[in-house]
């Protein structure tokens, strides 16, 4: 951090929030709200005179409330810049002035009660999102007694307790009597890997954190008895298995089973854990002086705001989604935006550093080149046909279409931002959007070719490039058979499937049409497939009004890994096709 702070080409903006992001790759304009520090950070030397005199005492957030701080403080000892900040909501010296002691004490006159927040706009070419994560609050898991028993603490609280810069200067104590605990129990997977409470995913870091903590205790206090209650120990990184073995060799006991209940002895404040050891099948009571809940990681509470500002996608677990999990693991779907660390998924320090290095390199490649190559599948506006209604701009997940509502000028595509999902093309009622390589003519041409002969024997399937089409591929390489009546038309996104494509297929005699795309959480174009769903819902209404069974238009979300589902759905489509009569098809042709 200090190196970053001193680097001549890095401007560190602390106590700041991103208020707005406009523009696109190479041309982002970012509004940053620089909050008032009320201390001149260039002048302050962090001498500490103001702290000694400040009468306001508050819980120290960095120590998770295990110690206190003053209203004027440094958030943590290694904070950069090495200057104090004043929390004006806590300070007594604000309006009306009731204290002002720090002001009098500071010889360098660094303190300024009248300092104001300030908004600055910066221009940047690329953005790296490294917003971190939060930790799971175990309050809802009442059986572990986190809110009832003082000697039940979280792994993060333990981290501060055992840290030499922490509230006890690294001395291991238990909260009730400040004595060294003789028996310590760790409980793993708190808030992780649970479908009912907490989160279904593995938080990645907790097992190794516990192993590290157990070794720390054993190194300093070898007499302390340690038991770790776990589901599985996931020690898959380089050197991790060795560390696990070392922990066991040092006498740490690993018991496969999570306690179902914790009680407290009212006299000793010791904790009694009831747990089944699934290896022996026995339910055993264990007594511990202190219990440490190994809490999982959760997405940062700020993710919703950042997602909106940068038009990002999130996976179902709430972490940000990469442009591609294997081939572009640090790129965001929005060009010029990259991820580092736990913003993308729970990860340890090593993985975070690796990803941060990769993100910095990816950004640097773009910045050094000074040019950016766009794939030739972007959309283009036919100005003669454009009625300046603004629908294309409204539906674009990337805000890649500019539209002046007042001047009523034709829309304009920012090609550097356009990802080529084609939603604008599907939603434009005036056919004014041309999707390069996926034009209306090209797709309608495929529909016509499919239905040229014996249309009653065909099922027209629109499949998105990234998921459903890849699902078909996966079904193929898995040797899963599906009916030969299936005819697939690939689009980059299901959002490209225009109402006219579907109606044209029915008009040419298609018995069944299927529109398929990525699951909502997997959409490769942020949220373009939400528009697919809306469009299909409208089409169902339209077909019904015309006396056509809406069941003949089907919608399905199939991921690239769901080859089995793809084959199953195709078989169901064939069954549906067989249920459509020639009379129905003829009626449809006439009605459309």
């Amino acid at each position: 951090m200090t190196d970053v702070g001193r680097h001549p080409r890095i401007e560190l903006m602390t106590l700041s929030e991103v208020a707005d992001v406009q523009g696109y790759i190479g041309n982002f304009r970012v509004k940053v709200l620089r909050k008032a520090r009320y201390v001149d950070e260039k002048e302050c030397t962090a001498c500490g005179d103001c702290i000694d005199i400040c009468p306001v005492i508050k819980p120290n957030e960095f120590d998770l409330g295990l110690s206190t701080r003053r209203a004027i403080y440094q958030p943590f000892p290694q904070a950069v810049p090495a200057a104090f900040a004043l929390n004006m909501e806590e300070c007594l010296g604000n309006n009306p002035i009731a204290c002002g002691k720090c002001l009098e004490k500071c010889e360098k006159e660094c303190i300024d009660y009248d300092m104001q927040d300030e908004e600055v706009e910066i221009k940047v070419g690329t953005i790296i999102v490294a917003t971190g994560m939060d930790v799971y609050d175990p309050t809802e898991l009442d059986e572990f007694g986190y809110t009832r028993f003082e000697n039940v603490i979280t792994s993060l609280e333990f981290e501060r307790l055992i840290n030499s810069g922490g509230p006890t200067e690294g001395h291991l104590i238990r909260p009730t009597d400040w004595q060294l605990p003789k028996r310590v129990a760790f409980i793993q997977c708190i808030g992780s890997r649970s479908e009912k409470r907490g989160n279904p995913y593995c938080s990645n870091v907790c097992c190794m954190n516990t192993i590290k903590d157990s070794l720390l205790i054993k190194d300093h206090w070898p007499e302390v008895e340690i038991k770790v209650f776990y589901m599985d120990i996931r020690a898959f990184g380089k050197g991790f298995e060795d560390l696990y073995k070392r922990s066991k060799a040092n006498g740490v006991m690993y018991i496969r089973g999570i306690p179902g209940d914790i009680r407290e002895d009212p006299e000793t404040k010791n904790l009694i854990l009831l747990a089944e050891d699934s290896n022996s099948g026995k339910v055993v009571e264990h007594e511990a002086d202190m219990v440490i809940l190994s809490i999982g990681l959760i997405p940062s509470a700020e993710n919703s705001l950042i997602r909106q500002l940068l038009t990002l996608s999130r996976t179902s677990d709430g972490f940000f989604m990469e442009a591609h999990p294997k081939l572009q693991p640090v790129d965001a779907p929005t060009k010029g935006v990259f991820f580092a660390g736990c913003a993308e998924s729970p990860k340890d320090i090593k993985d975070s550093v690796t990803q941060a290095s990769a993100a910095a390199s990816r950004a640097n490649i773009l910045m050094s080149a000074g040019k950016f190559t766009v794939e030739a599948i972007t959309s283009l506006i036919n100005e003669e046909l454009c009625k300046a209604c603004g629908v294309c701009a409204r539906v674009c997940p990337y805000h890649a279409i500019e539209f002046d509502k007042e001047k009523k000028l034709p829309a304009r595509v920012i090609e550097a931002s356009c990802a080529g999902c084609g939603t604008c093309g599907a939603e434009c009622a005036f056919d004014a959007v041309i999707m390069r390589h996926f034009t209306d003519q090209q797709i309608l041409g495929q529909v016509e070719a499919i239905l040229e002969e014996n249309p009653q024997d065909k099922v027209v399937v629109f499949a998105c490039n990234w998921c459903s089409y890849a699902g078909a591929d996966f079904a193929g390489i898995s040797r899963l058979q599906y009916p030969s009546s299936i005819r697939i038309i690939r689009t980059m996104c299901s959002g490209r499937v225009d109402e006219n494509f579907v109606l044209h297929a029915f008009k040419l005699g298609a018995p069944v049409v299927l529109v398929s795309g990525c699951h909502f959480a997997d959409c490769h174009y942020i949220n373009a497939n939400r528009w697919t769903q809306k469009r299909v819902e409208k089409l169902w209404d339209k077909l019904e009004k015309k006396g056509i069974r809406p069941e003949r238009l089907q919608l399905e979300w199939i991921s690239a890994a769901e080859g089995l589902k793809f084959a199953k759905v195709m078989k169901e489509m064939e069954e549906l096709r067989q249920g459509v009569t020639l009379e129905e098809i003829e009626y449809t042709r006439k009605e459309l």
């Binding site: 699951h519 909502f520 959480a521 939400r530 769903q533 809306k534 819902e537 169902w540 809406p550 069941e551 238009l553 089907q554 919608l555 399905e556 979300w557 759905v569 169901e572 549906l576």
Partner: protein, 49 residues
């Protein structure tokens, strides 16, 4: 209490209730019986018929 609406699966015909509010973002829906995503909301007007 969350608002609910009636839905019909266009694959197996199963009808079911699920949380729904017109103000909400569109959600991925699946039929609880067959798992199909061809799930259509039965609108009030249609229910009265």
């Amino acid at each position: 209490m969350a608002e609910e609406a009636d839905f019909k699966c266009l694959r197996c015909g199963h009808q079911f209730k699920a949380p729904y509010s017109p103000k909400d973002e569109p959600q991925e829906r699946a039929c609880p019986q067959c798992g199909s995503n061809s799930v259509r909301r039965i609108k009030e007007k249609a229910k009265g018929k």
